[in-house]
Amino acid sequence: MAEYTKEQLLKIYEKLPPELQDAVFSEETANNIFDICSKNEIEGSKMSEIAKYVGRVLMGLLPPEEFQATLELELNLDSKTAKNVARDINAFIFIPLKPFLAKLYNKVSEGEEKTEEEKFLGEEEMEKQKLEERKKEDTYREPIE
């Protein structure tokens, strides 16, 4: 699991849509995690770790489908408990935010495919360049008088 500094995480947080920003700090999210952990009798020190990975999912750093596996691998939760916790967290936290998470992870996967040049220039600049290239290629275009 990749490690991030607080500053990096804060930068990522600031770029999130407001709905996901709210969910990260929300008391409701915290209460849901607390209740789910209590229901599944999670050990004391693992509760905050589970909350940490929920935060990572909400920030676009851990795809929801990998959440259960992460719990098993990183927290040594047995498969059944991890499955139960993941299912409940999915139902109470991730599903209500599904449209935003889907958009976020699509964006993230698109971002992964970007070339180094695209990453450097940013989306707007690249769009401009592409438009200019298209203009050059268009030999049938009538000259503007």
Binding site: Y4, K6, L9, L10, Y13, Q21, D22, A23, V24, F25, S26, E27, T29, A30, N31, I33, F34, C37, S38, E41, I42, E43, G44, S45, M47, S48, I50, A51, K52, V54, G55, R56, L58
Partner: protein, 732 residues
């Protein structure tokens, strides 16, 4: 001699000139004429008598209106009650036409239900007891066509009771045909009392005006014999008038009930076929019950109210005090006080009597009428309470109410200082304080004007919303302050704080500037005080929250808040607040948190309040708004606390840690599972001493600690058990 004459001539010329040029002085002689004395006496008497007379006329008019209202409402109710049996008929066109329409509809629905049941039986998909329903269907098919007869039957039974009660009510009446003649006679004191009242006032007045010289005598009598002759009469009129209006209101409610009864029963009769249809299916049976209950309630309520009225007519005679003798005695000076006490007692007893009857009636009548009677009894309760209030208090309140309603005060409270241009600018040193004083008078005298002020603040805030330039908005704020237009200034400040960013920073900087007159205070002091004076506490709190950052010393902060008009009340002290600022921080919710100046999080006192008083929602709001500026200070403080706990010996460290977690369970719980673990809001349990973690990890960590009873609770439980054992021992 010549010289002497010259002096006299010059003197005369000067005297004549001055007497023409200078204003003439009025001459008041030492011995006035004989008629001057009479005129003086007459004027003095008029000065005393005139206001008394105007009050007497006002009260008498009130009495007269009450009398008219009582007679009118009684006459209408009389008609409505007597005409009930005639009005309440099911033979009229409206009921007949309506019933035929609904009966046709019900018959069609019945066929549909029959088909529905048949399909269910054929397909063997019965979802309810079809056979039982089928029996009901045939029964209803028969009954619904006789539903009018069924209602007529109920009405006939109620009519028997109604007529017999009506006859008994009429038997109490002194006038044939008029049900309430006796009741009104008793309450108004009869025609002789009314005649006495009119004769005393109108007759006496007219007679004295017709005979020359009697007018002055009348005024003399009024002013000298006011207490012994007129005051008891006025008291009497006032009590009677209030009672007349109360009774008229009660009669109005009854007029409505009796009139509504006719139409409601007729509408229920029209709907009866559909109600019978509802009886077939178990799912719709409740509507049938509802219909039947309403029909019975409204049929019976007429009888019940008539019975109560009969009770009232019969009972009122016995309340009449025997010592209220000849009403003409009340018109004679000194003797007029005779029986006034008994009169007052009579009306209060009668009032209580009616009140009890209304309260009893309330229990047994349809819910719609209950609402009306609730209203009437509430008016009664208010009258009762107001009657017992000390006179001084009532007078004071009336005065304040009067001034509050005053349009002038309202206008004054929001009076803007006009912009003085050109030569008029020279007047500004006088105009600004003059307008400010006028506003202050308006604000002080008119609580109604306070609403106008609040409205004006909201308007100013809304108007400023469109301003995009922080410097421009600040200049508008400064301009409003310079003109002494505080309502406008508060509105602009509110908007700038709400907008946040550079707007908030600019206004905070301005609000934090030291006050020129008192360097201990800041500019925000006067503004927040004004907002508090105007009763706009949210604006005052907003200004205080925005302006009081850690730059202001702790001692000064409390002083400033005191000057702003904030103080702790008994409830706050009971909640454990030690300072006003602590309360201001602790009770900041949602958007209030955004208002704080970012510097505030550097203050350890503030962070202490946050740790002790806030909940997860408040923490999340502050973290979202201030990000690192808040979370770093908050986390640093928590880590320092945990570090201190770790330095303690093991058992003490465990107990202290548990107490720390329990001091604010909502925060401990929130921090444990907040999804923002890595961006500033981390677990407390993660920083617990190792031996505590070892002990509680398997049990669920913080969950187990929060579920455990605290040492105080354990002590209390132990004490309880000891007491119990001791008691057991005593029994043994």
């Amino acid at each position: 001699m010549q010289k002497f004459k010259k002096f006299i001539l010059i003197g005369l010329v000067i005297a004549l000139t001055f007497s023409l040029v200078l204003p003439q002085q009025a001459f008041a002689g030492l011995i006035p004429g004989p008629f001057d004395y009479f005129e003086m006496i007459s004027e003095n008497v008029e000065e005393v008598a005139s206001p008394i007379m105007s009050r007497i006329i006002t009260i008498f008019t009130f009495y007269g209106l009450g009398l008219v209202a009582l007679h009118a409402s009684a006459a209408i109710l009389d008609n409505v009650i007597s005409a009930q049996p005639t009005w309440l008929t099911l033979d009229n066109n409206m009921v007949q036409e309506g019933w035929h329409f609904t009966a046709g509809l019900a018959n069609m629905l019945m066929i549909l239900i029959l088909i529905f049941i048949a399909i269910q039986i054929i397909l063997k998909v019965e979802t309810f007891a079809s056979k039982k329903t089928l029996t009901k269907l045939f029964l209803v098919a028969f009954l619904l066509n006789f539903s009018l007869l069924f209602i007529n039957l109920i009405l006939d039974v109620t009519d028997v009771f109604y007529d017999s009660i009506l006859n008994s009510v009429k038997s109490f009446s002194t006038q044939e045909g008029a049900i309430f003649a006796n009741l009104i006679d008793v309450l108004t004191g009869g025609s002789s009392s009314v005649a006495r009242n009119f004769a005393t006032l109108i007759g006496g007045w007219a007679a004295s005006s017709l005979v020359p010289g009697l007018g002055a005598t009348r005024q003399f009598i009024i002013s000298s014999l006011f207490i012994v002759s007129y005051l008891p009469l006025i008291i009497n009129w006032l009590i009677e008038a209030v009672f007349f209006f109360l009774l008229s209101a009660m009669f109005a409610v009854l007029i409505f009930v009796f009139s509504a009864r006719v139409y409601i029963i007729q509408i229920l009769a029209i709907l009866s076929p559909l109600a019978f249809i509802c009886l077939i299916l178990p799912q719709t049976e409740k509507y049938w019950k509802q219909w039947l209950n309403t029909l019975i309630e409204w049929s019976i309520c007429g009888i019940f109210f008539l019975f109560l009225l009969a009770l009232m007519c019969a009972g009122i005679n016995y309340l009449m005090p025997p010592n209220i003798g000849n009403s003409w005695i009340a018109a004679i000076p000194f003797l007029s006080w005779k029986g006034i006490g008994a009169q007052v007692v009579f009306y209060f007893s009668a009032f209580i009597f009616l009140f009890v009857i209304l309260s009893v009636g309330k229990k047994t009548i349809p819910s719609m009428t209950q609402g009306l009677i609730n209203m009437a009894t509430n008016i009664g309760k208010t009258m009762w309470t107001s009657g017992l209030k000390p006179l001084g208090k009532t007078t004071r309140e009336n005065f304040l109410e009067g001034t509050a309603k005053s349009k002038t005060m309202e206008k004054w409270a929001t009076l803007p200082t006009p912009e003085l241009k050109g030569a008029k600018k020279l007047l500004s040193p006088f105009a600004i304080p003059a307008y400010a004083t006028a506003r202050r008078i308006g604000q002080t005298l008119g609580p109604g004007a306070l609403d106008a002020q609040k409205k004006k603040i909201a308007e100013a805030q809304k108007k400023s919303e469109g301003i995009q330039d922080p410097n421009l908005e600040l200049s508008k704020y400064l301009d409003a302050m310079a003109r002494g237009d505080t309502t406008n200034a508060i509105g602009i400040a509110n908007d700038m704080i709400k907008k946040g960013g550079p707007f908030k920073n600019k206004i905070i900087k301005e609000l934090q500037r030291p006050d020129e007159k008192n360097p201990d205070l800041i500019k925000a002091t006067a503004l927040a005080k004004n907002a508090n004076d105007l009763g706009d506490a949210p604006s005052a709190e907003r200004i205080a929250r925005a302006a009081l950052s850690s730059k202001v010393s702790k001692e000064n902060r409390e002083k400033i808040l005191g000057e702003m008009g904030f103080k702790l009340n008994n409830d706050d002290i009971a909640k454990g607040y030690k300072t006003t600022f602590e309360k201001l921080v602790a009770e900041a919710k949602n958007d209030d948190i955004k208002i704080f100046n970012k510097d505030i999080w550097n203050d350890p006192e503030v962070i202490k309040t946050v740790k002790e008083r806030w909940n997860g929602s408040q923490l999340s709001q502050a973290a979202k708004e201030f990000s690192n500026e808040f979370t770093e200070s908050f986390n640093k403080s928590i880590q320092e606390d945990l570090k201190k706990i770790k330095t303690l010996p093991d058992p003490q460290a465990e107990e202290t840690f548990k107490t720390y977690v329990r001091q604010n369970p909502r925060i401990s719980r929130y921090l444990e599972t907040s999804a923002a673990q890595e961006i500033g809001l981390g677990s407390i349990y993660a920083g617990a001493p190792d031996h505590v973690k070892e002990k509680y990890d398997k049990k669920g960590g913080i969950r187990a600690i929060l579920a455990e009873p605290s040492s105080e609770e354990r002590m209390a439980q132990k004490k309880g058990k000891d007491e119990e054992n001791k008691y057991r021992f005593d029994i043994q």
